[in-house]
Structures are given as C-alpha cells and as structure tokens.
Symmetry: none
Subunit: 217 residues, 2 copies
DNA sequence: ATTTATATGAGTACTTATACTCAGGCAGGA
DNA sequence: TCCTGCCTGAGTATAAGTACTCATATAAAT
C-alpha cells in the first residue's frame, strides 16, 4: 500500500477546499491531485485523471455530487466517490448509495472521520457518517425504489393503503383500529408490513412517508 | 500598520476552520490567535484575548454568530465581528448589521474577498459580500405571511425555533440533543414549552406543526 | 392439494414522545 | 434588589410506535 493515493476534491466553497486539502495532506501517502468548484469540471477532471478517490459536495453548480458519482459508475471509472454534505438527509444518502457512492460524510466531520472514510473506501468498504447510520440500517438491504415512491405504493394491498391514508391524517393506530373495526395489534402489524415493503424504518418514518405521499394514496 | 493582526475563528465545521486558517495565514501580517466550535466558547475566548477580528459562523451550537457579535458590542470589546454564512438571507444580514457586525461574508467567498473583508473592517469600514449588496440598496421587505401560525411562531425563542426546524427534518429528541450539545431532557422540555406556546397537544402534533411550517422557520 | 398472499390477532421488548412536576443559573428590566 | 424569561437538567408516569416472534384463517393460484 505504499503507492501514493490520488485524491480529488469538488466543492464550490474555496474555504472548504482549502480545509479539506490541508487535512488530506497531513497524511503522507495521500496527495490532492486536483480540485474543482463545479460538478461539470469535476467530472471532466475525473475522466481524464482517474483519481483514486473523489470527494464531492452535493450542492454544486452544474452537476451535483451525486450526479457526478452516477456518471463515474456509468463510465466504469475506477474512482471511489465520497459524498460530503451539509445536511444529514436520509433521501440524499439513499440516492447516493444507489448511485455507487461508497463514502458519505457530513461537513461536521472531524479530521479523523474524513481520513477514516477515505481509507475505508480505498479498501473497498463503505463508510457512512455516524449521524446517518440510523438511516442505513434498512436502506441498503432491500428495495431499490425510492426514486419513484409511487412504484412502491403500488405493491401495497388495499388494506395497507387505507391504513397509510388514515396515518397521513395523523390518526394513531388505536384510532385507525376503531375506524376499521379491527384490533390495534393488527394495525401495528400492517404498519410493520408496510414499512418493510417500502424499505423504511425508524420512528415516525412511516408517518413522514404517509404525509409526503398523501395525495397519491 | 506593521503590528500583527490577531484573528479569531468560530465555526462548528472542522474542515471550514482549517480552510479559513490556511487562507488567513497566507497573509504575513495576519495570525490566527484561536478557534472555537461553539458560540459560547467563541465569546469566552474573545473576552479574554480580545482579537482584532472575529470571524463567526451564523449557525453554531450555543450562541450563534450574530448573538456573539451583539455580546461583543455590549461588552464594548474592541474586536471587529465578521459574519460568515452559507445563506444569502436578507433577514440575517439586517439583524447582523443591527448588532454591530461590520463584515458579512458568504461561504462561497474567494480568498481575495475574505482578505479584503478583514482589511476593510480593520480600517473601520463595512464589507458586505457582493451577492448581498442588492439587499442593502433597496432595503425591501417582502416577508411576513401572518397565517396565524406565523404569529405564534414569532413568540418562540431562537432555541425553540431551532428545535422546531430540526424536528421538521424528522430528528428525534436524542438526535437534536446531540446536535445542540444539550441533554435530551432539555430538548423534551423545549418541545413541551413550544407545544404550550402554540396551543397544541397530543402525539405527533408538534411534528405535524413543524412539517407544515418548515419553510417559515 | 399444496403453496402463497392476505388479513387477522397476540406476546414481548424496546424506543420515543407527551405531560406533569421541580429546580438551579443567568441576564435584563422595573 | 427582586422579578421575569430563558435555558438548562431531572424524576416520574403514561401513551404510542417500532421490531421482532408466533399463530390462525381464508381465498386465490399453481
């Protein structure tokens, strides 16, 4: 592993680029081989220079970081894309993972986390920032939907859709049970089944889904 | 003018602090005399060390950058506060200027802009990032949609609004506590206080409110 | 006829949110 | 100085959701 690791940076904030560069250059075997402020520039550089790792901001002019990652995979370039973002947004993470991203960092990350992440993806592993790991638990296992929530909804049965609809009106399981003349345990079971079908998990995540999709239920 | 200029940095993102530090240290007469990740730490350092310039992030745990600036003026400390923020938000700029801020930079700023800004405020001048200067000229106010909820929201304190905002991103109390460096019991207390102020009660009702009003938080 | 999907119900454990209570610290105003 | 508002933290109790397990019944599909 004594070869020098080429790392590329893309972020539209000059200060951030400087900070990242400084952190990376503290590692003796790492080298910053280039930097860009837009997704388009980034992709061009990556295609021509094939760095080992590309650290990509999500919000950039032109292509965003996730789109750059997708292009990297489409063109079968041997560069590990690492996403670096301000927000701990579940949806971004999922989309990123679906597009071949193997490292996902928040800008709150410490030096150690950044270096850990780079080394992990270099070794072929996945690295997701601690704050986001709760989202990950079910996300990568099954389900490749989420690009079209509508598709996933179609796999739900009539009863399940009915429960989702009532959920979106902020009813509790007990209230739904009463309205549907079934046990509240049955409602809970349906909720779990729905969550599994949709590939979601965690507190309130089903409620959030119901709210976001209430017009197509 | 041959005295060394002491500059202090406050930002909760380690990468950003590194980047800023690097940019500032390229100037021979500038020195980074300290850095902090929270507003409270920042204020303490500024009081004790009285740097010439304090570069303050807006969104930080504890006090935010603008609050730190206000404290600096209240305590009549001879430090020039410079606000550094992600968002080109008119309201923030106004509040900042009202609180004695003489420099207002966006995180998109280039090296040159940052250095220019520091030199300008050192000379007693005002520096506002180009992207924001339009707001200064036509001091227009196109806000205030008092939808009833809007009025209630205005009675909330800054901390309460921050918690509501995080809630709207589907964070749990424990996650919010971690992000704000406070106990999750305190978060729960804030949630109860918010509910009382807004006149709402019951499971998920606060989450629902946060979701419905997330764009005006 | 066996499998499969669906609907129903329950046991158990754990996490999270709501709803009270109380209290200390700190800053600003009357 | 006292009072008030805000932030902080905790004790206790209850309600609700999540996450697994298991079981039964029925209808449709193979």
């Amino acid at each position: 592993m004594n070869k020098e690791v080429k790392i590329f940076l893309a972020d539209d904030h000059p200060i951030f680029r400087e900070g990242l560069k400084k952190i990376i250059m503290k590692e003796k075997d790492f080298r910053v081989s280039g930097a860009a402020a837009t997704g388009t520039e980034a992709l061009e550089f990556i295609i021509h220079n094939k760095p080992d790792v590309a650290i990509l901001d999500v919000s950039m002019p032109g292509l965003n970081g996730i789109e750059v990652a997708r292009k990297i995979r489409e063109k079968e370039i041997d560069t590990h894309p690492v996403i670096l973002t301000m927000y701990s947004d579940e949806e971004y993470l999922e989309t990123a993972l679906e597009n071949g991203v193997t490292g996902y960092l928040l800008k709150e990350s410490t030096h150690t986390e950044i270096i850990d992440c780079i080394r992990t993806v270099l070794n072929g592993g996945y690295y997701v920032s601690k704050e986001l790991q709760s989202f990950l638990i079910n996300g990568s296992k099954h389900k490749n939907n989420k690009t079209g929530a509508g598709k996933a909804i179609e796999t739900l049965t009539h009863t399940e859709k009915q429960i989702l609809k009532l959920l979106s009106q902020n009813r509790t399981s007990a209230q739904i049970a009463k309205e549907m003349f079934i046990s509240f345990r049955t409602v809970q079971n349906h909720r779990m089944n729905i969550s599994h079908k949709l590939g979601i998990a965690g507190h309130n995540s089903l409620l959030m889904f119901a709210l976001e999709n209430q017009e197509i239920l």
